[in-house]
């Protein structure tokens, strides 16, 4: 089980005071906080072996390259990818999705269909809209019900041999819903469709086995995984990555360049043009090792207890409605209070030191579904506590009085 007191000591930011109050950080779905080991890894990189990688014969370059490539293998092992060639460092989930979406413009044609769920983050919508604009392919929406649960039968009914791509989040950032991606993948594959799963919100909370899932593409962001900003991972099956054209041109991703002909490098370098985020890649490995030391079983169990507790406590507040009531959720609660605008509540909570997110959470179609301008979202991590939840509940009551 989680020793939360000890764990909190790993995160220097949790000591922050906001407006005289102890910071309560419930915005983990936007960005997770960073343990000291990760911060130290970054400092250590710049203090001891900062150097451009892959092409240097000197020691610093070799050390940096080794650390960077070791990190790739840590990630490979963490997600159980078959080969480290399948692990592409990106600048984040958005970048990863764009690599794939842009690559498929060569392989889709007019009338082809792609399926998006209704609960996607804008990053898993807009690149596909751009793809469809280029190719004439058509977007079909996999609907969800009033609990924010994907309607699997409906999905089955729109998935056909016209379907070329299926794009679904593993976990919805705005609702916390865990989608049945095993079923989605198997339905899609039985129609020969390729599946990209947006794992930005899943990877920090759930142990992921890519080979077992048999997923085609999977994307995550480092800054939600206790890692630094500006780094992420695109996983793709080697055969698919081999097939896709390179996304960016530049150094690193080429084998030979003449003005008449350029040959591209092998995986994973083909997709890693230019000097990468070296410190970010290295520190992401450290972050994932840190998560693994705590253990995903413990994390899931503890976060579930926070979710249950906060759901129970929040529902005691009069007029509070929770959006997303699947029985398969990560520790995310999106809610509104009758006749109070989320922005107002968020502002008062901030004054009380509580960081929640308000708004559409980059998932406007979800807001349209529920016909609301936005929600207040409290998203928990394993360093949060029930005491913090109690303080938030009291703060909400106070804000309610002020705003009523």
């Amino acid at each position: 089980m989680i020793d939360v007191k000890k764990i909190r000591d790993d995160f220097p930011i949790l000591k922050r005071k906001i407006n005289g109050n102890q910071l309560i950080y419930f915005d983990n779905a936007a960005t997770s906080q960073t343990p000291q080991v990760v911060i130290d890894k970054i400092s250590n990189y710049y203090s001891n072996y900062n150097s451009n990688i892959h092409r240097g014969v000197h020691m610093l370059s070799q050390e940096a390259t080794e650390s960077y490539e070791k990190s790739r293998r840590i990630i490979q092992n963490q997600f159980n990818a078959k080969s480290s060639n399948e692990i592409i460092f990106t600048s984040g989930t958005t970048h990863g999705i764009n690599i794939v979406a842009s690559g498929y413009s060569n392989f889709l044609k007019k009338g082809d269909e792609i399926i998006l769920s209704e609960m996607e983050h804008h990053s898993n919508i807009v690149p596909w809209q751009m793809l469809c604009e280029k190719t004439g392919a058509i977007i079909r929406i996999a609907k969800m019900d009033e609990n924010g649960v994907l309607i699997l039968d409906y999905f089955k009914s729109i998935c056909s041999n016209k379907t070329k791509l299926v794009l679904v989040s593993h976990v919805s950032n705005a609702l916390g819903t865990i989608n049945p991606i095993e079923s989605i993948i198997s339905i899609a594959h039985s129609n020969n469709a390729v599946v990209l799963i947006d794992g930005a919100q899943a990877a920090p909370h759930i142990k992921i086995d890519l080979q077992k899932l048999d997923v085609d593409f999977y994307v995550v962001s480092g800054h939600k995984l206790m890692g630094p900003t500006g780094i992420g991972v695109l996983y793709g099956k080697e055969s698919l990555l081999d097939m896709l054209p390179p996304y960016q041109g530049g150094g690193e991703m080429i084998e030979e360049v003449t003005f008449s002909k350029t040959t591209y490098a092998k995986l994973p370098h083909k997709f890693e043009a230019g000097t990468p985020n070296i410190s970010g890649g290295i520190a992401l490995g450290t972050a994932i090792s840190y998560l693994n030391e705590i253990g995903f079983d413990s994390i899931s169990k503890y976060e579930k207890s926070l979710l249950d507790y906060s759901t129970f406590k929040l529902l005691e507040i009069d007029g509070l409605k929770i959006y997303g009531e699947s029985n398969q959720k990560t520790a995310v609660i999106s809610f509104n209070i009758e006749s109070i605008h989320p922005y107002d509540l968020g502002t008062i909570l901030d004054k009380l030191g509580i960081a929640v997110r308000t708004g559409h959470h980059c998932a406007q179609p979800i807001m349209d579904h529920f016909n609301i301008p936005g929600t207040i979202r409290a998203s928990f991590s394993f360093y949060n506590t029930k005491e913090e939840i109690d303080i938030m509940v009291e703060a909400i009551k106070r804000a309610k009085l002020m705003l009523a």
């Binding site: 407006n19 605008h341 989320p342 922005y343 107002d344 502002t347 008062i348 901030d350 004054k351 308000t358 708004g359 301008p373 936005g374 002020m402 705003l403």
Partner: protein, 141 residues
């Protein structure tokens, strides 16, 4: 008519009476509640200010060389801010509006609303108020 500087001074004086953020925010919320209601026909999509997390509608007319603003929002704290802004900017000559600055917001302890986060649309609001002033200024020239 009082000058913009005078009104800003008055607001600063009023807010100086408050001991803490609670009192300031409660006052803002009261101001929000008392914001005169914008004419429904001006609450159109084209009058919405982009870049605010809460919806903000602003409309302006020129009467006797003064810009008369009306506005609304779906969030009450935002309405409070609007009320403060309108108190300062409304019923002023366009050229005076264009010269005015927003440092009083900082002085009354609401600096956080000046931050460049797009979530907080105060800067967008001020920009929109000034856009109207520019337009009417041109009309007057």
């Amino acid at each position: 008519m009082k000058s913009i500087a005078t009104i800003q001074k008055e607001i600063i004086d009023e807010f100086s009476l408050f001991d803490d953020w609670m009192q300031r925010y409660e006052y803002m919320i009261d101001l929000g509640k008392s914001l005169p209601i914008i004419d429904q026909k001006h609450k159109t999509d084209s009058n919405i200010i982009k870049g605010c997390q809460s919806k903000v509608w602003v409309y302006a007319e020129l009467k006797k060389n003064q810009v008369i603003y009306t506005a609304d929002s779906d969030a009450i704290i935002t309405k409070g801010i609007i009320a403060l802004l309108l108190r300062v900017y409304s019923k002023q000559h366009p050229s005076d509006i264009l010269k005015a600055d927003t440092s009083f917001i900082d002085k009354i302890g609401l600096k956080e609303h000046l931050s460049p986060t797009r979530a907080n649309g105060l800067l967008s609001m001020v920009k929109q108020l000034k856009m109207y002033a520019i337009a009417y200024q041109t009309q007057l020239n």
